[in-house]
């Protein structure tokens, strides 16, 4: 079920209402059933895969506290192997096989592996990582194993964050399912406002830009360099509004029921360098890699070469996590290189500086990030390189503008999002949705709904991160 569909709107109202009128002891069951229904709305059969990982990790969690020594290690390994096995089979098998077949063909071997004709279960990378963080935390002793099977299943399946995160940690999430939640006006109000803002970002900004980006990227050969440059800029904004819009709706819908999900974005395009960008972009994933890959590899300790290796390993995996394509791998490696270069050559920023002093760094980081998105959005390296070449050669060519009104609304809506980020970053909030006066709050809410109705794109397009 897509967050930007009427079906979800009805589902959300019914589930939230039933949640508060149900006795506390049955609420987990209600949420679990609702989450199953939510997930099965896409491809019902894939619930089986989810169920398998839930059962494996539930029992792994229980036995991790009972076993000692090497047996514990083996059990953790088994659990991770099972989770990654499913992920690799569904997401990477065809990619590996395709590359192997290419290698075999190049080496004049006659053997060719056959491909699997399977669809990638929606949100597989997200719930696999969330499930893995549970067993790792139990193994490390940071989290007691969850005895209640239903609650553990809910931890993996909680519908607001099931298909595109935020990727939660058991320490932050599990206890919340045990707590008795009371209806709270502030939670309701905050949650609904966050959802509304998320919808604005998704249907007014991201889906509007998606039309331009989709057309120009697909048909890049016939576009001018300046058109492609504009398209890359639009994609930079689109992916942010699409994913952070999703996160806002997820966090907001959980908030109305009293659940607190972790922040996933913090004004990423106001980052002053690449490492700062990764502290603000998809925070739940970057902290996952930090905690479970980077630090276990040695983190910032050791020689410069070791630190570089650790950094590149994380970014390589991060690229691969996003998709089984060389374009994602290059995207990850580019971020790794830029991140390493920044650590090596750029002096550490001291404290917080004014926007004007930060502006050159912000613009440079924005440029670097936008450049890497070319690889992320392209379907092949050839396409990405072709686009870069065209941009380089034709920067002064005429720009394709869909229609003047379309461009006007696009730029205006981008301006609204970026201004909001700017105000939040520098604590200059003009407080319309959060004003002390009810009249102002109410008027701002109504205005935002009207803007969504007037300028939203209502073709119920999917979220970009659902494919991961």
């Amino acid at each position: 079920m897509l967050f930007n569909s009427v079906d979800f709107f009805i589902f959300y109202i019914i589930v939230s209402f039933l949640y508060f009128v149900s006795p506390h002891r049955f609420r987990w069951l209600l949420l679990l059933i609702a989450s199953c229904y939510f997930y099965m709305y896409f491809v019902p059969i894939y619930i089986v895969i989810l169920a398998v990982t839930i059962v494996i990790d539930y029992f792994a969690g229980i036995y991790l506290t009972k076993l000692q020594g090497n047996k514990r290690k083996w059990l953790l390994f088994l659990s991770i192997f099972a989770n990654l096995g499913i992920l690799i089979t569904f997401k990477y098998y065809n990619f590996f096989v395709g590359n192997l077949n290419h290698l075999f063909a190049a080496g004049s071997f006659n053997y060719q592996f056959s491909f699997l004709s399977i669809l990638l279960p929606i949100g597989l990378s997200f719930h696999t990582f969330q499930a893995m963080s549970y067993t790792i935390e139990v193994y490390r002793g940071n989290q007691q194993p969850e005895k209640h099977f239903g609650i553990y299943a809910l931890y993996v399946m909680f519908y607001p964050q099931l298909v595109a995160g935020p990727i939660e940690r058991p320490q932050h999430m599990l206890h919340q399912f045990h707590e008795k939640k009371y209806f709270n006006q502030q939670n309701l109000s905050e949650g609904l406002k966050l959802m509304l803002w998320g919808y604005f970002k998704k249907v007014v900004v991201a889906d509007r830009l998606a039309v331009y980006v989709g057309t120009t990227f697909e048909n890049y050969i016939n576009q001018t360099g300046s058109t492609l440059m504009l398209s890359v800029f639009f994609f930079t904004i689109q992916i942010y509004c699409d994913f952070s819009g999703y996160s806002d709706i997820a966090i907001g819908s959980a908030k109305t029921m009293g659940f607190d999900l972790m922040t996933n974005f913090r004004q990423p395009y106001l980052a002053v360098n690449i490492n700062d960008f990764w502290r603000r972009w998809h925070i739940s994933l970057s902290t996952w890699f930090r905690d479970y890959v980077y630090i276990p590899l040695g983190g910032n300790k050791g020689s410069a070469l070791k630190r570089f290796r650790n950094r590149m390993a994380v970014f390589l995996l991060s690229g691969l996590w996003h998709g089984a394509n060389w374009t994602f791998i290059i995207w990850g490696l580019l971020h790794g290189l830029f991140s390493g270069a920044q650590k090596t050559f750029s002096p550490a920023t001291k404290g917080r500086q004014s926007f004007i002093r930060n502006l050159p760094s912000i613009l440079f980081t924005f440029f670097i990030v936008s450049f890497t998105w070319i690889f992320f959005r392209s379907t092949s390296i050839k396409q990405a390189l072709g686009m870069i070449k065209k941009i380089g050669n034709g920067i002064t060519d005429p720009v394709f503008i869909k229609t003047p009104t379309w461009m006007f609304i696009s730029l205006l809506s981008i301006g609204v999002v970026m201004t909001n980020d700017f105000l939040a970053e520098y604590s200059l909030s003009i407080r319309l949705l959060h004003n002390k006066l009810f009249v102002v709050r109410c008027a701002a809410t109504v205005l935002l709904i009207i803007i969504i109705l007037l300028f939203g794109i209502f073709n119920t397009s999917s979220f970009i991160y659902f494919q991961f």
């Binding site: 009427v6 009371y182 109504v446």
Partner: protein
């Protein structure tokens, strides 16, 4: 922690917000309705004239292919009849059906030319083009079941006035200004100027038949029969890198059964056109459109 909740307070605030939303929506809707009635040029000015005021002898229905393929001036000149082209980019058979239903309430044309896209019956109608004419929803003959095809909630969504003006309000406002366009020049035909954007590879299409789409085709045929309209069905030319046999066969079979003249220009059946006469795989340019229209006049209208 349990906090004492003032439910009355929440309910009152929610009601105030809802009332403010509905009244804003109502007021904006009224203002937008006023704007749409006072268009001086643009798409909605033309739509209003073509559907509610023009009295065509020949009505051409269809998608962008109809819009760019049938040169109304040539037909008018040859037959001395008023011809209006109702073809619209991105439209489908549902749009054609709604236009015809609305049109015959004002004027019953003698001839209706229905241009069927070669892949018309593969999928259910998206209704995308119908959403562009939502500002006229009160004047259009459009039922709940027609809207249900677009989405199960469309009937409720169109109750919101602002939703009816989704993504068009700025162009509606812009077209209130400027010089009043003359209706004399409105015929609906839009020639495509350039050529050469032919895809290199064949597009492989899975040709399945969607019953909802075909249902609207049958409904158009029935509507024409009930109103004694001479219906002519045509699949106008497309560049022969694509072949859609199933749709053509389906239409042919149906037309044979119902005694409806059917003209299939697929695969250069009637007319061999050069690559230079196409804008892209599915559309003729102005030169191609003129050649096709002249052939169609001789073959179907004279």
């Amino acid at each position: 922690m349990k906090v004492k909740v003032k439910y009355n307070n929440i309910i009152i605030k929610l009601i105030i917000c809802l009332l403010l939303l509905l009244s804003t929506d109502y007021l904006l809707g009224k203002m937008a309705d006023y704007c749409i009635q006072h268009q001086k040029s643009g798409d909605y000015f033309e739509f209003e004239y073509k559907v509610f005021h023009a009295q065509p002898d020949i009505a051409i229905l269809g998608s962008s292919r109809a819009n760019h393929h049938y040169n109304t001036l040539l037909i008018d000149k040859e037959l001395q009849k008023k011809v209006i082209n109702y073809g619209v980019d991105g439209s489908d058979i549902l749009y054609d059906y709604i236009i015809l239903k609305t049109l015959i309430k004002h004027q019953v044309p003698q001839i209706v030319i229905l241009d069927v896209r070669p892949f018309e019956f593969e999928e259910k109608p998206s209704g995308q083009a119908v959403t562009y004419i939502f500002p006229f929803i009160k004047k259009l003959d459009i039922t709940k079941s027609d809207l249900d095809i677009i989405s199960p909630y469309e009937y409720i969504k169109v109750k919101l006035n602002t939703y009816r003006y989704n993504n068009i309000i700025l162009s509606v406002l812009a077209n209130m200004r400027g010089k009043q366009e003359s209706t004399a020049s409105i015929s609906g035909y839009v020639p495509l100027p350039s050529s050469g954007n032919i895809f290199k590879k064949d597009k492989v299409r899975f040709e399945k038949v969607n019953t909802a789409s075909f249902h609207y085709f049958e409904a158009i045929a029935n509507l024409c029969k009930q109103n004694n309209i001479n219906l002519k069905v045509c699949i106008s030319p497309y560049y022969n890198t694509i072949t859609y046999n199933k749709a053509a066969l389906l239409v042919k079979e149906f037309c044979n059964q119902k005694d409806i003249p059917f003209y299939d220009y697929s695969n250069s059946n009637f007319l061999v056109l050069n690559k230079s006469e196409f804008k892209d795989n599915l559309h003729l340019n102005a030169t191609g459109a003129d050649r096709f229209t002249n052939d169609f006049i001789i073959r179907a209208l004279k």
